[in-house]
């Protein structure tokens, strides 16, 4: 397994300003079962297939642009995973139309 040099604090310097969400993601992406879930998907899975894997893990939102923390560490599905990286969305903001939102009002809490 390719991994960065865990002995070197500098190799983890990119986490210097990481939020709790960023760090939660760093732990999750080391989870062997999570990695296996992604590896069992096609290279270019449909959104529905990707969502079906993401949801049980509490993932919701697409990755940040320039997902620099996705490199190193375990081998992961780059394409699809980027869509979900950092995606642990408890405190994400849900937006809905101001004038009544019948569809939105049925929503469950994200990340649950």
């Amino acid at each position: 397994m390719p991994s960065r040099d865990w002995r070197s604090a500098a190799a983890y310097a990119e986490l210097e300003n990481a939020s709790a969400r960023d760090l939660a993601w760093e732990f999750l992406r080391r989870n062997p079962r999570y990695v296996r879930d992604w590896e069992q998907l096609d290279d270019r899975p449909s959104d529905d297939a990707a969502d079906a894997v993401a949801e049980p893990w509490g993932l919701r939102f697409p990755g940040r642009p320039g997902a620099r923390r996705a490199r190193g560490g375990r081998r992961l599905d780059a394409g699809t995973l980027h869509r979900h990286r950092g995606a642990l969305g408890l405190a994400a903001v849900i937006l809905a139309t101001l004038s009544g939102c019948p569809a939105a009002c049925e929503l469950a809490a994200p990340g649950e």
């Binding site: 397994m1 991994s3 960065r4 865990w6 002995r7 604090a9 983890y12 986490l15 300003n17 990481a18 939020s19 709790a20 969400r21 760090l23 939660a24 993601w25 760093e26 732990f27 999750l28 080391r30 989870n31 959104d47 529905d48 969502d51 509490g58 919701r60 939102f61 697409p62 990755g63 940040r64 642009p65 560490g73 869509r83 950092g86 995606a87 642990l88 969305g89 408890l90 405190a91 994400a92 903001v93 849900i94 937006l95 809905a96 139309t97 101001l98 004038s99 939102c101 019948p102 569809a103 939105a104 009002c105 929503l107 809490a109 994200p110 990340g111």
Partner: protein, 149 residues
């Protein structure tokens, strides 16, 4: 909104330099007049803080810093490094040397009772716990608005 994508339950994307995750609920035109939808659940304090964060970002203001405390942040990164050393098959002693430097890690019997040994073992255990589900609890440490007691 950047990295926008259509999901089964609406649009997902991130906003601003701080990449605030935003979910535009299903059936809402993204360019409509929008308001924040805040479920009255246990995560309400975190959601309110996230809304304030977004509000600052949309007005072009730097949102207030929303970091973990420095010691907690340091400990989590150390746990990640301990985890990766453990995964590579290193002994606790070698992990301790990698994290804290050889000068601080004693040889021989003194290691068995050294506090860095206990600390290293705790770091690995914590990392595995976080990896295998504890990451969700970590999310609950997101910034929150203060509540009355």
């Amino acid at each position: 909104m950047n990295s926008r994508r259509q999901a089964s339950d609406g649009w997902h994307g991130v906003v601003g330099a701080a990449s605030i995750p935003v979910w535009i609920a299903h059936g809402t035109p993204p360019d409509d007049d929008l308001g924040a939808l805040i479920p009255l659940d246990d995560a309400l304090p975190q959601r309110l803080a996230a809304v304030l964060h977004l509000w600052h970002a949309l007005r072009g203001q730097m949102p207030p810093a929303v970091q973990l405390t420095a010691p907690r942040h340091r400990r989590l990164v150390l746990a990640l490094r301990a985890h990766d050393g453990h995964l590579d098959g290193h002994s606790y002693r070698n992990i301790a040397i990698g994290l804290f430097g050889a000068a601080r890690v004693p040889r021989g019997a003194a290691w068995k009772t050294h506090d860095l040994r206990a600390r290293t073992m705790r770091l690995v255990a914590e990392a595995i716990r976080l990896r295998d589900g504890g990451y969700r609890a970590l999310l609950r440490t997101d910034p929150r608005v203060k509540l009355a007691r």
